[in-house]
Symmetry: C2
Subunit: 119 residues, 2 copies
């Protein structure tokens, strides 16, 4: 049996977990992920991506030190993002054009943000 074809062309999960202020790992919501997730949803709609791309909130993705984090499936590419401009770049380059925003991508074994990624 073959798996059914994808329900969404791309499925994005934005961590919106919130920890108490001062927690040593921080949290994506404490770094503003909820507003950025709202912006991403609205911009995806404006770009006509509805039905092809789904933007979802998710619980803790467990890469808190790199947050706010998001992951795009099925390709499994992770990003950090800190501003509406970052969101626009990810939407346009990755989700519309199928490219990658290398500056914001997270490596598999990455444990802290690179200088060019810091918000």
């Amino acid at each position: 049996m073959t798996d059914p074809k994808p329900y969404f062309e791309a499925h994005v999960f934005c961590c919106t977990n919130r920890r108490p202020d001062g927690h040593k790992r921080g949290s994506c919501a404490a770094h503003g992920s909820e507003k950025l997730r709202d912006y991403m949803k609205a911009r995806a709609r404006e770009l006509g991506l509805d039905g092809k791309v789904r933007i979802n909130s998710a619980g803790c993705l467990d890469r808190c030190e790199l947050g706010p984090t998001m992951v795009v499936y099925p390709e499994g590419v992770w990003y950090t993002y800190h501003s509406p401009a970052d969101v626009d770049e990810i939407l346009d380059t990755h989700l519309v054009k199928g490219g990658r925003v290398e500056r914001l991508m997270l490596d598999t074994d990455q444990r802290e943000l690179r200088p060019e990624q810091a918000g």
Copy 2:
């Protein structure tokens, strides 16, 4: 540039969206998804899947009529599940052994549960 290797071998998202009682689309939380998600997380830990498989909550996955729903990435396989026994079968067959629980799988164009899927 090649995409980094997967951070998780399998990444599971369980819809825990809740709509008000009586909403015509229903919602996964109204069908018990939160308790089943908790059970899934605990069982995955007991099975030693931590670090390889991540079980997350997600906002509305927009397949409410088929809920509770979950999706497993990167393969993009969707399931409906209604009991701890369903969760156990998905964990053991799909996430431990790499197979599929065909009875609970959702087709791409499916709009209502099949008789054998009803909870």
